[in-house]
Amino acid sequence: MEGKVIVVTSGKGGVGKTTATSSIGAALALEGKRVAIVDMDIGLRNLDVVMGLENRIVFNIVDVVLGKCKISQAAIRDRRIENLFLIPASQSDNKDVLSSAGVERVANELRKEFDYVIMDSPAGIERGFQNAVVGANEAIVICTPDVSSVRDADRVIGILYSRSLTPKLVVNRIEPARVERGEMLSYEDVLEVLSIELLGLVPMDEHVLISSNTGTPLVLQNDSKAGHAFKRIARRLNGEADLPIEVPTHKNSMWKKISKTLGFK
């Protein structure tokens, strides 16, 4: 059976596409699937650093698309998680070296070898984004509860629909305390505007920063809330569509809820 190519995109930069790509990929591999993570941000390579594989790069996705090497040569195997592979971006080229047809061909080849191919799209909606989307079967849109991020996500969703992809939504960096104080949009507000299927809610977590900088997968840290959320997202992607979505809360609000149900004010 052929695998799926999933593109992770957002429109706006810095909302957590790379973190989401590496975490969802790692979590799917932990579920026992064969996973390739592809960095499509040509010229601004990040995914290798986040995954802690930067010093093992020989070939990259540009070499694969241009036919300079085989997929198996460019794919770096992760030592900690079995069945997890990274195909890095090129840092020296720019986004125009890839042609849509070339990316599509490579995506089809990857589909035969892996259960899941997860593509990290660059920010924006230009050439790089178009290339990342061209070979995808599914799309995940990452957005944070900011007005600007929501607007960009909305634009991207429109473009994805026009390419017959039905995107699913991950709301990242939710800060329950701020939501409660009304300083941040709630995930309901975001969903109301975007109105697409929700795949998961990820709370703000400082483990993300640490794991990105040290190159350790988030999902391997058991006490990471964000890692836990990404694991559930991966399970939902991997067939457990009915897995309930956990809404991030902070302790205070838990007590408030309990006291509310008990009738205290």
């Binding site: 007005v147 929501v150 607007r151 960009d152 909305d154 634009r155 969703i157 429109g158 473009i159 109301e192 505007v193 109105s195």
Partner: protein, 229 residues
């Protein structure tokens, strides 16, 4: 042979259950009375208890003359009722009523562009007609219509109704919070106040755009009957 040009001073016609007298008030009262005598004399018993309409055509005044003729008719020929012809309706009203009766909208080609679904950021909808959107209009999108804009959902984009300069257009939404509103040549920016979820519409009054509660000041309540647009 009937001479249509030089009409007799008094003419008689049967109308429904009575008679219609057309008389020329420029003749003297005696002439008119003698003419009436002649005509009603021929009618004999048919005139008894009949109702009569006296029509002087376009001539104005002559109320005294008509009053005297009225009593003369009633006393002499036992007519039950004498009246003046009913006022003619003004032409436009008549035309609208006719259109109403014939259900003109059955053959009406719509002047409305009707869409359903979400209008997302970056999308632009332009039409020289009215636009109706069944769904939300998200921030970052643009809508421009030659006529009205009606959004059955949340309106949060940039809207221009009455493009290029029809200031009688309105913009309606179930949740009205656009970033920028233009009607014709008048512009207003969106308001950042607490969101009120109720049907509202914007229109131009005294060169300014005003947003009103639709349920309280429905602009179409004044219209006496439905009209196709």
């Amino acid at each position: 042979m009937i001479n249509f040009d030089s009409a007799a001073p008094v003419r008689l016609k049967g109308v429904g259950d009575g008679f219609w007298i057309t008389l020329d008030p420029s003749h003297s009262e005696e002439v008119l009375k003698s003419e009436i005598d002649k005509l009603f004399g021929n009618l004999k018993h048919l005139a008894i208890n009949a109702s009569v309409v006296i029509d002087v055509g376009d001539a104005k005044g002559h109320d005294d003359l008509l009053e005297r003729l009225k009593s003369y008719l009633i006393n002499t020929f036992e007519i039950s009722k004498v009246s003046r012809p009913p006022e003619k309706r003004s032409i436009p009203t008549e035309r609208i009523r006719q259109r109403d009766l014939s259900k003109g909208w059955n053959h009406h080609r719509s002047d409305v562009l009707m869409l359903r679904g979400i209008v997302r950021s970056g999308q632009k909808i332009e039409s020289r007609k009215h636009i109706i959107i069944m769904g939300d209009v998200n921030p970052g999108s643009e809508i421009s219509a030659g006529g009205d804009i009606i959004v059955l959902g949340r309106l949060a984009g940039k809207v221009h109704a009455g493009f290029p300069e029809d200031e009688s257009s309105i913009i309606f939404a179930l949740e009205f919070r656009p970033t920028l509103v233009r009607i014709g040549k008048t512009t207003a920016s969106g308001i950042d106040e607490e969101v009120r979820i109720k049907p509202e519409y914007a229109c131009v009054e005294n060169n300014a755009i005003i947003v009103k509660d639709y349920m309280k000041t429905n602009p179409f309540r004044k219209m006496p009957w439905p009209e196709a647009i």
